[in-house]
Subunit: 100 residues, 2 copies
């Protein structure tokens, strides 16, 4: 969650949609330098959102379904309890209205 905070880092992450990309390809077109992209990838990797795969001097980065899945479950859990709370409040409100 913290890993996806920075806008530039989200840009890098979104460029990973569609499959694995080497660092150079990711940095090209982005408004920041290549080392900056490397640093972002490091953060994303430590967060479990991205995987690294080496091939010679090049390193391909791709989205890690495990990390993304964990994030999805976190949001979903939030979604469920939030809706429950919302329904409970509506019910309580209806009860209040019924009393007067």
């Amino acid at each position: 969650m913290t890993a996806l905070a920075d806008p530039t880092r989200r840009l890098v992450f979104e460029r990973l949609r569609g499959g694995a990309r080497p660092v150079g390809a990711l940095a090209a077109g982005l408004p920041v330098s290549r080392p900056a992209v490397s640093q972002h990838l490091k953060v994303l990797k430590e967060a479990g959102l991205v995987r690294e795969e080496r091939d010679g001097t090049r390193r391909f980065y791709s989205i890690d379904p495990a990390g993304l899945g964990a994030l999805r479950r976190w949001i979903d859990g939030f979604w469920d309890t939030a809706l429950d709370a919302f329904a409970a409040e509506v019910a309580a409100d209806a009860k209040q209205r019924g009393k007067r």
Copy 2:
């Protein structure tokens, strides 16, 4: 997404699970002062993740299903395309293996 970056802010947000809470109740138990919580709530509100409801001098904050839903859809879209890309890579890899 940026709004949920800060750990303290996530703590505030998680305290909103279970329904509406006044600012004082949220700040109690948190490691920061009450004004800090107010500032976090302001950010969450501007992000559309939280709603405000006034009752006298007190203001109740609760999770806004709309904002949370938008976040959920963003993640879900990511999840779908990421899996598609993953499947495509597996297929391409199988094709490679078949060639040799």
